[in-house]
């Protein structure tokens, strides 16, 4: 084929030149040989041969032009011809490009997020050598003693580092202003290969206990807080009220190990006691907070390194066993094994939480693109019937069929390239909007969505694939058939039009099937969101202001903390609009949790985890503030102090689980005291409260229990306050702030409301529901357009027949019915196929659903009904127009 050679020529120019030289040199050599046999000297023969040949250079240029330039011209010609044809029918081109923009844009937007979170490597030297140390038994967060052992003795990796994400308050009292922080080991930056832009990075010196408070700051933090100040080294930042000296700034390309946030400040792990004066975690054998990474030495495989680490593990574990654990837990700990997991793509909370959702959205976007392709293919088919004569003439004039198909495919490629270019712009915008959607005030995301080679490759691939998908079949159909027949054919192209019409119908049926899948998915996700938003949480999320107060550990002594919190609550209750107020260790629907195994009186556990209870420590008035009704017994009271007998309020579920139908009031429940105390605390059940959700809205009900904040022997410096108000919450903040600060000025505050906290926890279902609805709607519109087109084409083809029917006295409705019957068939086929597809795909999204089933017949029926209704509405207009035609006009046209 001419154009395949032409492509090869474009890329094989040198080879082309050589071949021309070889061919011409052969001619001259042969001629010279012949002249030599006539008696000329060798040199003279060659001279004569050259003369007879004529101008060598010019001939060579002529040939090269024919082989190369004229061929390139042909490609350019195809493109120019394609552009001219496309611009010649702007309505067609605009419709096709617009649908492609939406389809490709949706895909590129989702892909660019997947790319940023899952595919792109961290911008470090040799990221593939980066591995994370994990353990199935322990998890991926380790204690500092484990880290120190690993740092000093591990035999497997060429460099190890430890880090932990945290946040530090930059404000000096009052409302908190938080920086994204990292605790890092001294070797952190060196192992990663991150140099300092200004000053220096940390050194192993900073691993020593008692190292002075120093900080390395990130580039954007530097820009924001020390604008253009190159002399930032030596200046200080205040973190949680403590002064740290800035020793260095990292380059702009390093934003930390998290790919969805950007770090502000890094401080040495050895500085931990400066911030945590109550109790340092450095020597705690049960404080799991550090992640460990390392580099594989050149030439050592992950498996080899893992094996080395495994043989070293027992020594490490013996040296760091958490002695405060029960013996059985200690034995489990000693059996732990380490494994290595590639860490080149860094870490991402969003990736972990949104993975399934992102893949589901990617699949949905791909379906939208398929629908788009079907739509554009249909447009091309309709156009082919218009261009039929043009193509037939070109074929008759001697163009090969491949040549014409190639020309048509060039047009398709132009369409898809235009769609991709605009789609990429849409994606740049769309992916940012999407990230903004899942970004919350408490957790602002900074995902690098700038286009890279991956995204460009994805887009180019999509462009070519879609061009082939929507262009190939129409191109072949358009050039099929007997030439003479086509040329003689009626201008409307009725006979050969049949094949195109059938393909068109099949495409529309396919569109309907895909649209149904999307509609059903959208329905399921909307149902999930509705269930999440209306599910009974066990408390009333509306009208509650939450304040997290972090008191300075040193400034507020332990003995004062309980009294201080009570004092704050008293002041809060005095604020006019406040209905009730309380304090607690944690608030519901947050990650932070506290669980323990308990020993309820007279209960025989069926398994070890059977008595795992999720706890909170709350002040009197907590339940009325949260609007969680007490079912039995009493609330905590002032009298429940450190000196009084320990009391507990349990959830209904726990009461039923542990005590069955017996009266739970007065029963005792024992559990371990805080780590280190050998004696078990014994609590008496004084109340039963309505069950409430603990960490997640969609969790199955856990066993819950509450203990009194007045009986806390080891109170933390962090207290949550809940304030229920009858009026709006925002105006309350000022009064609440002064109530707390006037009690103790050594405090950093963080405000939010309970409703937002609950709603942000269902961000993923919300985004999935939103996007799938948008995509579903888009699919519905495209399917409608498809049905409209195929109906309009159908009645146009049968214009004469319909005219005769009307002339013979057919009723209007029977003509409409004639047209709609086809639509009904397409819809039936499409819906049946779509239902089958939905049932098959339903299993894949089960983990994203809550309270709805993928095979719920009501959901399926609702989606099918909506689709069918839209289909008939779309088809009705052309059908009615056909019924309204004047039979004489259409018959006369024949």
């Amino acid at each position: 084929m001419a154009w395949t050679r032409r492509l090869r020529n474009l890329f094989g120019r040198e080879r082309l030149e050589r071949q021309i030289d070889d061919e011409l040199a052969f001619h001259i050599a042969e001629r010279a040989d012949e002249l030599a046999t006539e008696g000329l000297s060798e040199a003279e023969a060659r001279r004569q041969a050259l003369i007879q040949f004529g101008s060598y250079t010019r001939r060579k240029e002529d040939i090269r032009e024919i082989d190369l330039l004229s061929r390139l011209d042909a490609v350019v010609g195809d493109v120019r011809f394609g552009l001219r044809t496309l611009l010649g029918s702007p309505a067609f081109t605009a419709t096709a490009v617009l649908s492609l923009v939406l389809g490709i844009g949706a895909n590129a937007a989702i892909f660019s997020i997947i790319n940023a979170l899952m595919l792109r490597s961290l911008p470090l030297a040799d990221p593939a050598a980066l591995v994370e140390v994990q353990s199935k038994e322990i998890g991926y967060e380790f204690t500092n003693p484990i880290w120190e052992q690993m740092r000093d003795h591990q035999p497997a990796l060429s460099g190890v580092l430890a880090w932990s994400a945290d946040r530090f308050d930059l404000a000096q009292g009052g409302e908190g202003r938080f920086a994204r922080g990292m605790w890092v080991s001294g070797d952190f930056f060196r192992v990663l290969g991150v140099p300092a832009l200004h000053g220096r990075v940390f050194t192993p010196q900073e691993d020593r206990r008692g190292t002075p408070p120093v900080a390395v700051i990130g580039y954007s933090f530097w820009q924001r807080n020390f604008p253009k100040d190159a002399n930032v080294v030596g200046k200080t930042v205040r973190l949680n009220g403590h002064v740290f000296e800035v020793v260095g700034v990292t380059p702009p390309w390093f934003t930390g190990l998290d790919v969805d946030t950007s770090f502000d400040v890094a401080i040495p792990i050895a500085c931990e006691p400066i911030l945590h004066t109550d109790r340092s975690m450095l020597d705690m054998r049960s404080a799991w907070w550090l992640r460990m990474l390392g580099r594989l030495p050149p030439g050592r495989s992950l498996q080899q390194a893992e094996a080395q680490l495994r043989s070293y593990a027992p020594a490490l574990l013996r040296a760091t066993v958490p002695v405060e654990f029960p013996i059985s837990d200690q034995q489990d700990f000693l059996k732990a094994a380490f494994r290595l997991s590639p860490a080149a793509t860094g870490f991402s909370d969003v990736r972990d939480r949104y993975k399934t959702a992102l893949f589901a959205l990617m699949a949905i976007a791909a379906l939208v693109l398929l629908i788009t392709c079907a739509n554009v293919a249909n447009l091309l088919l309709a156009r082919a019937s218009v261009r039929h004569r043009e193509l037939a003439v070109r074929l008759a004039l001697g163009a090969s069929r491949m040549r014409v198909v190639f020309q048509l495919l060039t047009e398709s490629l132009l369409l898809s390239l235009a769609g991709t270019a605009a789609g990429l712009l849409l994606a740049l915008l769309g992916s940012r909007v999407l990230v903004r959607l899942i970004s919350t005030r408490g957790n602002p995301l900074a995902i690098d969505l700038s286009p890279d080679a991956n995204l460009l490759a994805f887009s180019a691939g999509t462009a070519i694939l879609t061009a082939i998908l929507f262009g190939l079949a129409p191109a072949f159909l358009a050039t099929r058939g007997d030439l003479n027949q086509s040329l003689k054919e009626h201008a409307r192209g009725h006979v050969a039009g049949a094949a195109r019409f059938h393909l068109g119908k099949a495409l529309v049926a396919g569109q309907i099937a895909l649209s149904l899948v999307l509609l059903i998915a959208a329905g399921l996700f909307l149902g999930t969101l509705r269930n999440l938003l209306t599910t009974d949480l066990g408390f009333n999320r509306h009208g509650v202001l939450l304040v997290a107060a972090q008191f300075e550990e040193k400034a507020v002594a332990k003995e004062r903390r309980v009294g201080l919190a009570d004092e704050v609550v008293t002041r809060l209750r005095a604020i006019p609009a406040v209905v009730s107020a309380s304090s607690s260790l944690r608030t519901p629907i947050t990650d932070f949790g506290w669980n323990q195994l308990v020993e309820p009186e007279g209960y025989r556990p069926t398994s070890r985890m059977d008595t795992l209870v999720w706890l909170n420590r709350v002040s009197p008035g907590y339940f009325s503030t949260m609007d969680s009704p007490l079912r039995l017994g009493r609330d905590f009271a002032e009298a429940d102090s450190l000196t009084a007998p320990k009391v507990m309020i349990i959830g209904e579920g726990a009461a039923r689980h542990f005590f069955g139908s017996a009266d739970p009031l007065g029963k005792t429940i024992a559990m371990d005291g805080f780590p280190g105390s050998a004696k078990k605390d014994v609590y008496q059940v004084v109340g039963v409260v309505k069950d409430s959700k603990y960490q997640l809205v969609d969790e199955s009900q856990r066993l819950t229990a509450f203990v009194a904040s007045g009986q806390d022997s080891d109170p933390r410096a962090r207290v949550n306050f809940e304030i229920r108000s009858a009026g709006p919450l925002a105006p309350l903040a000022q009064a609440v702030r002064s109530a707390i600060v006037s009690t103790s000025p050594h405090v950093s505050l963080e405000f939010r409301d309970l409703e937002t906290q609950v709603n942000e926890s269902v961000m993923q279902p919300r985004v999935v529901a939103l996007l799938s609805s948008v995509f579903g709607l888009l699919a519905l519109v495209l399917a409608g357009v498809g049905l409209y087109g195929v109906t309009a084409y159908g009645v146009a083809r049968r214009r004469n027949e319909i005219g005769i029917r009307i002339a013979l006295g057919a009723q209007r409705w029977s003509v409409i019915w004639l047209a709609l019957r086809d639509v009904g068939m397409l819809l039936t086929v499409g819906i049946v196929v779509g239902l089958g597809g939905s049932l098959a795909l339903g299993r894949l999204i089960r983990s994203l659903l809550y309270g709805v089933r993928a095979d719920d017949p009501r959901q399926l029926a609702a989606a099918a009904t909506i689709l069918a209704a839209c289909g008939f509405v779309a088809a009705y207009a052309p059908a009615r127009r056909a019924a309204g035609q004047d039979p004489l006009t259409s018959l006369r046209e024949e």
């Binding site: 052969f26 001619h27 001629r31 040989d33 040949f53 010019r58 001939r59 024919i66």
Partner: protein, 112 residues
Amino acid sequence: MSGKQKNDILQGTLALLVLRTLKTQGALHGYALTNHIRRISSDLLRVEEGSLYPALHRMEQDGLVRSKWGLTEKGRKARMYSLTAAGERQLAEETKSWARLTQGVALVLENS
């Protein structure tokens, strides 16, 4: 391409001659084609030898001939051209129109 040749008419009919030669002789390289055309036209039709090659390449692009590299008896690498099906059809057509043209010209010359 330059038209300042002794036998300009050959430019238009060169393709016809090449097709005809390939039809009767089978696969040939450019040098053999040149010699053959010169020999059977009794040296009447003589062209600048190099001008054959652009014509051959154009005919190949148009799908009338195809080429492949082969070795001659002397062991030299040569590009051998042969006729394609499209070339055969083209030859038939051009032969016909050539006949019509010469007939027409002859009639004009005889009758005017």
